[in-house]
């Protein structure tokens, strides 16, 4: 082990590699801050640039860019209320609320620290797990994936807001929207209305942009001559306090990192769900379900820790088995192939030092991007004091370019606006948008893996050990939700 690490370090301590990684993470930060450019789009744009680079340099570049996106996106989520990338959407709720109370930089400090440390820990987990990973990935079969997804959606639907019924409507709608397009188990396209675009169903990026970015842009336009966010002084001491907050909440933090790593490792679930699950786990313990309530810093730490942690997690199956843990990892894998490397079991035998070097790059990226983000955050905060009517159209243009660039498709842009209208309604009437997004992401997983589980194992699939544990967790989620709503009905508890 020690010689692997020293060999990895010598690979990394190579000026071009470091410089390129630095460039990558800077680009990632900026793309993260710009709403409209998700991590996936960023990777897709950067992929052509790695031709001709050395393997570690090229992949390190992509990895650094991708990891930095979520760090950058958290600041936009907090200070502007617009998620920089779909994975930052869970941060908006509490982060933005904190900002409006004047504690924006407190939230930013917490988010950046949680991101940096979360990423660091997951890089460590990556190094430790790589050699012994195969049994873990192989133990997670279709039944486990199905139940994990079920627990995820139940938690978010039932625990996220005070009104379980609204959460269920949102989740149900998300699940239903997910059915558009090819059904994975039969290949039949559903509800495609004879449109080629809809053969592949509704796309995630326009959905998230529409649901989260458009309502905020409308709000900014509405603010007119007033600053984008009124009365928010910037207290820089708050940054340090925010950082301390993460260390004061070790349980929340570690649990969120754990969720990120595990969800990242399991191929099939997709890393995007990690922040929502972590958020639900953290916020599910609230006593009051007042939707207007002051932002809870847990609601910032949890998603941010997990969305950086999932990077390390997703690298595990990608490097160890050559199986991408998420769509972004698939692109990263493509980067490897372009540079002539084929990740997989034999890759680990021959190139364990390269894999470790990547983990080191990941760790360093997370730290450096958090540090770099501090001055950038000041810039973003300045933006927040710009007049709403000036900011709105500019953000709108960015969102549109981002939406179009993802698939070179005008239909994507149209859908942004369609979902924008839905997002407006949901925000106004307090329906959980994260629940809809999660329902959308998990829908195909729930349907497909239940089908596969039944076909491959029969109904007995639930008796597998990990499945049983997950099943019990599911029961726990339902019980918790029921008890909570009963408690709220007791006399003495006021408020909607």
């Amino acid at each position: 082990m020690p010689d692997v690490i020293s060999s990895a370090l010598s690979l990394v301590a190579h000026a071009p590699t470091l410089l390129v990684a630095l460039a990558g993470l800077s680009i990632g930060l900026v793309c993260g801050v710009l709403p409209g450019l998700s991590g996936l789009t960023t990777l897709a744009i950067l992929l052509p640039f790695i031709y001709g680079m050395e393997p570690l340099t090229g992949v390190g570049f992509l990895l650094a860019a991708h990891a930095a996106v979520y760090t950058g996106g958290s600041v936009t989520a907090i200070l502007l209320g617009i998620p920089g990338a779909p994975a930052n959407a869970a941060t908006v709720r509490d982060g933005f609320a904190l900002h409006r109370q004047g504690r924006g930089l407190y939230a930013v400090g917490a988010a950046l620290t949680a991101s940096a440390l979360g990423g660091l820990l997951s890089a460590l987990a990556l190094v430790l797990l790589l050699p012994m990973l195969q049994p873990v990935v192989l133990a997670f079969g279709a039944p486990e994936i199905f139940l994990l997804a079920l627990v995820g959606i139940a938690s978010v639907a039932l625990l996220d807001q005070g009104e379980p019924l609204k959460g269920l409507v949102a989740a149900g709608l998300g699940l239903f929207l997910a059915t558009f397009g090819y059904q994975r188990i039969t290949g039949v396209p559903r509800f495609w209305m004879e449109s080629d675009y809809l053969l592949d169903g509704i796309r995630l990026v326009p959905l998230v942009l529409g649901l989260f970015a458009i309502p905020e842009i409308v709000r900014l336009a509405d603010a007119g001559g007033r600053p984008a966010t009124a009365g928010t002084a910037l207290r820089w001491r708050d940054l340090a306090r925010g950082a301390a907050a993460v260390l004061e909440r070790p349980w929340t933090f570690l649990r969120s990192v754990g969720i990120g790593v595990v969800v990242g490792i399991v191929p099939g679930v997709g890393g995007e769900t990690a922040p929502y699950l972590a958020y639900a786990a953290a916020r599910g313990r609230r006593d009051q379900d007042d939707a207007r309530a002051a932002g809870d810093i847990d609601g910032v730490i949890a998603p941010e820790a997990s969305n950086n942690a999932k990077e390390g997690g997703s690298l595990v199956p990608t490097l160890a088995l050559g199986i991408p843990g998420s769509a972004a990892m698939a692109l990263l894998l493509g980067g490897f192939l372009i540079l002539g490397i084929e990740p997989g079991p034999d890759f680990l035998v021959a190139h364990l030092d390269m894999a470790t070097a990547l983990a080191i790059i990941l760790a360093v990226t997370n730290l450096v991007s958090a540090l770099l983000m501090v001055p950038l955050a000041a810039g973003v905060a300045k933006l927040a004091s710009v007049r709403g009517q000036l900011l709105a159209p500019v953000l709108l243009v960015l969102v549109m370019v981002g939406a179009y660039a993802t698939g070179n498709s005008g239909a994507d842009v149209l859908f942004v606006f369609l979902f924008g209208a839905l997002g407006l309604l949901m925000r106004r009437f307090n329906y959980s948008r994260p629940a809809l997004v999660l329902g959308f992401i998990l829908g195909p997983i729930l349907e497909t893996y239940l089908h596969i589980s039944l076909q491959a194992y029969g109904p007995a699939f639930i008796t597998r050990p990990i499945s049983l544990t997950l099943g019990l967790m599911l029961v726990g989620v339902f019980a918790w939700s029921y008890l909570r709503s009963r408690n709220d009905r007791r006399p003495g508890v006021t408020g909607p």
Binding site: G172, F191, V218, G224, A392, V397, V401, G443, P496
Partner: protein
């Protein structure tokens, strides 16, 4: 009269029902294809119905607190939404470089910004989109109907 709070459950349930019916009557999907949409639809409609009924009868608890944004309600929000949606035809006709510029100009002027600032921002946006997205990143952006 439908209270505004009932819009969303009604919309969700209605749209779901519409698509489910289309699946059955128009597309003629079999059971395997329809079973998950039916489940999802049942969940949505099943949760939306009590919400709709509740809001139809009027508020049981005090209504939601006055909107924290202080705006004029849902109508105002939608008029802003439509104003923003005007960027779509602009981009479609003029492409991603000129379309946003024109939209920005119109939007800012309409909201009372001075000509100077509006023109500067419009030009800046066009330059940014062209310089960064088209030239630097080689994105293939739609060039408009005449492009």
């Amino acid at each position: 009269m439908i209270r505004t709070d009932a819009i969303l459950p009604l919309l969700a349930a209605g749209m779901t029902l519409l698509f489910l019916l289309s699946g059955w009557l128009f597309y003629d999907y079999g059971w395997v294809v329809m079973r998950f949409p039916l489940l999802a639809g049942a969940l949505t409609i099943g949760a939306a119905l009590p919400l709709w009924l509740r809001h139809r009868r009027g508020p049981v608890e005090p209504g939601p607190p006055p909107d924290r944004h202080g705006d004029g309600g849902i109508a105002a929000e939608f008029s802003h939404y439509l104003a923003i949606a005007a960027i779509l035809p602009a981009v479609w006709i003029l492409g991603f470089v000129l379309g946003p510029a024109l939209f920005l100009l119109a939007f800012l002027r309409w909201h009372g910004t001075g000509w100077g600032l509006a023109a500067a921002m419009a030009a800046g946006t066009a330059l940014f989109v062209h310089g960064v997205f088209v030239q630097l990143l080689h994105l293939q952006l739609h060039g408009g109907v005449f492009g």
